[in-house]
């Protein structure tokens, strides 16, 4: 029976957490109010009380393996009822950031994107890359005449950058996640009771409906904001795929003039061509508006909550701001194009938009956005263990 458990506290890890925004974690006195008021915490080995203790003790190795920190949706019911102001909601958010950084491959990318102090370096990469491409191909000037973005930054160049780099990002992400999955499943003392696929399907269903998010008592508004950003992103991803289809399959180029080529695609019907074009534009704009509204709400909610029970970490702030800026610049660029704004402004806005899109897509394994994969993996594992709360 006598069995020694040796813990190795990592004091530096504790300091890092505190510096990143978890400065309240030492206030926790382990009363477990948080574990009870959390609507997402299971009865068996509930969180976040135990994570707070592990964080205080600097048990980095344990926390890196944790699936529970990903079950948390940051509703902050825990922080509201916390008698010590230890803000478990914030501490768990910082822990998730640390896990993203720890599993980052290559390591330096985790540091570059994970530490908000490095934001200028992170943005400099796409800026320099785009300037070099434009310069080398003789496009580094404001094109004459009507604003057409592809005159300034030809679509082939964009695809030439984004297609291979996003492929690389996916590969890097796959390495990070498989590392995370291995640690998480090996570190668990419980044995799975359910298969992977059904658990994954159930998890995805839950994510699509935001069932977990809606269980939050405090901050119900956050699930609305998140739904908008979530479906805004999905809509824009579909838009991108659709545009690729238009360009490479239909060979119909932006800005989708209803010309002879277009008529030949639609069997000579101008009405069909127009309808197709309008549906496409409506879909794209609706998605962009959702992202814009969601991004705006995310920031508004966080500002509102800030005084009460949460101090959003700079890591989260950064990403929320970038999401909002992507929406704003994308939308502005379109408005400027259609309303005949000075060309230099329209092209500059478009350039900024591309830089931010680069940040979101290419840095996905290292930014806050990475949570959608980590969380999906962790919830799936929890469902396999059959310890997830009933929805």
């Amino acid at each position: 029976m006598a069995q020694d458990t040796v813990f190795t506290p990592d004091v530096r890890f504790v300091r890092e957490l505190k510096k990143a925004g978890g400065d309240t974690l030492k206030k926790c006195y382990q009363c477990a109010t948080c574990s009870v008021v959390c609507p997402l915490s299971p009865d068996d080995k509930p969180f976040p009380r135990k994570e707070m203790l592990m964080a205080q003790w600097g048990l980095k190795d344990e926390l890196i393996k944790s699936s529970d920190i990903w079950l948390c949706h940051n509703c902050n019911d825990c922080s509201k009822y916390c008698p010590r102001g230890a803000k478990p909601g914030d501490v768990l958010a910082i822990l998730r950031k640390s896990v993203i950084q720890e599993n980052a491959f290559p390591r330096f990318m985790g540091k570059l994107v994970g530490d908000p102090n490095n934001i200028w370096q992170a943005l400099a990469i796409p800026v320099v890359l785009f300037l070099v491409i434009l310069g080398a191909t003789g496009h580094l000037h404001i094109p004459e005449g009507e604003v057409v973005f592809s005159k300034f930054f030809p679509v082939e160049f964009i695809d030439g950058v984004f297609v291979p780099l996003s492929g690389l990002a996916v590969l890097m992400f796959a390495i990070s996640i498989s590392r995370f999955w291995k640690n998480m499943t090996a570190g668990s003392s419980m044995k799975p009771k359910a298969e992977f696929m059904p658990s994954l399907v159930e998890t995805l269903k839950e994510i699509m409906t935001h069932a977990k998010f809606k269980k939050c008592d405090e901050n119900k508004d956050r699930s609305v904001a998140h739904v908008l950003v979530f479906y805004g992103f999905i809509g824009l991803a579909i838009t991108t795929g659709w545009a690729v289809f238009n360009l490479y399959i239909l060979q119909w180029e932006l800005p989708y003039a209803v010309d002879e080529h277009a008529l030949s695609i639609f069997g000579g019907s101008a009405a069909a061509a127009w309808a197709y074009k309008i549906i496409f534009k409506l879909f794209a704009n609706a998605s962009a508006l959702m992202l814009l509204a969601g991004g705006f709400l995310v920031i508004k909610n966080r500002l509102k909550e800030r005084a009460v029970e949460t101090t959003t970490s700079s890591f989260d702030w950064l990403f929320a701001s970038i999401v909002l800026l992507v929406g704003v610049t994308g939308f502005l660029a379109q408005v400027m194009r259609v309303t005949g704004f000075p060309a230099v402004l329209a092209y500059a806005t478009y350039f900024i938009h591309l830089v931010l899109v680069f940040y979101i897509i290419i840095y996905v394994p290292y930014s806050k956005l990475a949570h959608f994969v980590y969380r999906t993996a962790a919830i799936t594992w929890t469902k396999m263990l059959k310890r997830d709360v009933e929805m």
Binding site: A32, V36, D43, P46, Y81
Partner: protein
Amino acid sequence: MSVETILVVGGGISGITTAVEAAEVGYNTVLVEKSPYLGGRVAQLSKYFPKLCPPYCGLEMNFRRIKPNPKITVYTTTEVESVSGQEGNYSVRLKINPRYVNEKCTSCNACAEACPSERPNEFNFGMDKTKAAYLPHVMSYPMRYVIDRNACKDKSCDKCVKACIYNAIDLNMKPQTVDIKVGSIVYATGWNPYDATKMDNLGYGRIKNVITNMMLERLASPNGPTGGKLLRPSDKKEVKKVVFVQCAGSRDENHLNYCSAICCMASLKHATYFRERIADSKVLIAYIDLRAPGKYEEFLVKVQSDPNVTMVKGKVARIEEDPATGDVILEFEDIEGGGKRHERADMAVLATGMEPSVKVDSLLSFEENGFIIGGKAAGICSTGVAKRPSDVTTSIQDATGAALKSIQSLVRS
């Protein structure tokens, strides 16, 4: 030349102690109490530490010291209206609220029998009612009835006056003011139980069978609403299983940001109420930390050794009611390895903390939690729970010290 009189504000165990100790070494003391009786919170207890005797034992000894001592003047139903001056020479105006019953009262109860109106009995935390003409409690000092004019539904009713054969009732009594000179002042204004309805997750006020620790003292008292039987409020069923919710509001920055010092020992004592009276009763105490300082540890060990008493580390953070049975379901995490528990019980007792009764006064300085440090000027000090959360023993020791301190003020000026 200083005025040789000490004013003691508050007639609980601390105020009584200061007044008696100072008077017994020869100083005049004026003891002022807002309610119609002396004894304060101690009078409401069923048993108290250290010897677990009923409070009347200790209070009666003190009343016996007050009564024959010409140096002590007691004012009940009285408040301090204003204070001015300096150490050695304070002018104090007292406002005596009408009791409507004079010193001729023999406590024969004829007025209460004749009285047609009722009022919630605040001495029993509203768990029962008294007539509008009532005796605050069986050992009231002064032993005299009171009439609650707010509870007289028919203001023209004079049934009590007619019933009193001693002419002790005067419904036309008016508030009076009395001006006195004192050399020093001791604030022994005590505490109120923290308002448990503020903890929305614990259900007090919404769920009938969630009560507070002070309410339990009344339930356990022979002169309480149930005659000392431990029956739960919803259906008067005997309580076979009870859960104590420690730190209900205390050590919580959203409520009382300090340890109320007495609740752990109070709940341990309450556990014995159940265990001594109901043979097969089960008690669970859910705590964050158990604080049993000094000699109290022996008591903790004794209660712990009872197999029917369980202590679990983990704070109760949610209480729900089972509407079918009236049972309470308490949720907490058993931190030492049990996961989240949903414990069903007949009744839950919230170990609510102590909140200082006086929170604002331009004469006084307060520490961060609202307890009185003392006067802004010399010659004013605080004692008992008005000064810091403490048990009866500590309060009495402190009050004796306050007597000396107030005497020093007189001698100094």
